[in-house]
């Protein structure tokens, strides 16, 4: 019951955040709302039995890629478009409530320890049984390193090519 409600709340906040993201004038606030969308979809991943995907969605999308976007925005000095999107009482209220919520979760973790009862109990499925048997990472990693090894290697080559391409493209040309 509470799980369904949480899931629907995550779904609604994902859609709401995406709409706000598309309509913002200031690119910095668009980045911040997109991070919110990624957090909401991570919550949905978590409740669809994709625990590892949820974790790397926060770390890789919400963390690495969005910081890269913010870094480029700051580098090109594009964040000055319309500061009303970010500042003002509404933004302060939302930011303050999110901070207080995170503080509460962290306090709960420190006081109760990490072996606290899971907040969300998901109804049983085949994926969940496999995760209980092989571990949350193992259930993704095992086929990745047995059946799909060549694909994994090709992905590594793709990342290498993208590193070289990025350096080539962003380098200042010597004249």
């Amino acid at each position: 019951m509470i799980q369904d409600f949480l899931f629907q709340a995550f779904a609604a906040s994902a859609i709401l955040g995406a709409v706000i993201m598309v309509t913002r004038r200031n690119p910095v606030s668009a980045v911040i709302f997109l991070v919110g969308v990624f957090f909401a979809t991570s919550g949905m991943f978590l409740m669809l039995d994709a625990h590892y995907i949820a974790a790397i969605n926060v770390i890789l999308y919400g963390g690495a890629i969005m910081v890269l976007f913010l870094f480029v925005l700051m580098l090109l000095n594009l964040g000055h478009a319309d500061w009303r999107d970010l500042r003002g009482p509404v933004g302060g209220l939302i930011g303050g409530s999110i901070s207080i919520a995170f503080l509460g979760v962290l306090t709960r973790l420190f006081v109760g320890g990490t072996d606290a009862r899971p907040v969300v109990e998901i109804a049983g499925s085949a994926l969940r049984e496999a995760a209980a048997e092989q571990g949350v990472v193992g259930v993704v990693a095992r086929p990745l390193f047995t059946e799909y090894t060549i694909v994994l290697e090709v992905t590594g080559v793709l990342l290498l090519v993208s590193i070289v391409g990025t350096i080539l493209l962003a380098r200042r040309e010597r004249t």
């Binding site: 799980q3 369904d4 899931f7 629907q8 779904a11 859609i15 995406a18 709409v19 993201m21 598309v22 913002r24 690119p27 668009a30 980045v31 997109l34 969308v37 990624f38 979809t41 949905m44 991943f45 409740m47 669809l48 039995d49 994709a50 590892y52 995907i53 790397i56 969605n57 890789l60 999308y61 690495a64 890629i65 890269l68 976007f69 480029v72 925005l73 090109l76 594009l78 499925s125 085949a126 994926l127 496999a130 259930v139 993704v140 086929p143 990745l144 799909y148 694909v151 992905t155 793709l158 990342l159 090519v161 993208s162 590193i163 391409g165 990025t166 350096i167 493209l169 962003a170 200042r172």
Partner: protein, 104 residues
């Protein structure tokens, strides 16, 4: 199919479709190149959401595909932002209306 997917799986598919549509609208309507890029990331994330929802029905392969989608998205973001930096160095703007090199 709906029974195996569950209510939450169905909601996930709907949300995925809506997020993808919002991303498409953003790509078509916005002029800031960086926001267009962010809409592309949103579309990739929407596709990931439907893949995860279907992985619940058909096995773990959907989640593995999401893993590769994320790797490709990281590479694409790095190269795309490098292109934006190169364009900005040349034109001093990131307004897509100003780039007509590949338009006719």
């Amino acid at each position: 199919m709906a029974a195996a997917l569950g209510l939450n799986g169905l909601i996930a598919l709907f949300v995925s479709a809506i997020l993808f549509s919002i991303g498409v609208i953003g790509v078509l309507l916005r002029r800031n190149a960086i926001i267009v890029f962010m809409c592309i990331e949103l579309m990739l994330n929407a596709a990931n959401l439907s893949l995860v929802a279907f992985a619940r029905m058909h096995g773990i392969e959907g989640q593995i595909f999401v893993f590769f989608v994320m790797a490709v998205a990281a590479a694409e973001a790095a190269v795309g932002l490098a292109i934006i930096i190169a364009i900005f160095r040349h034109y001093e703007v990131v307004d897509l209306d100003r780039f007509r090199l590949l338009k006719w």
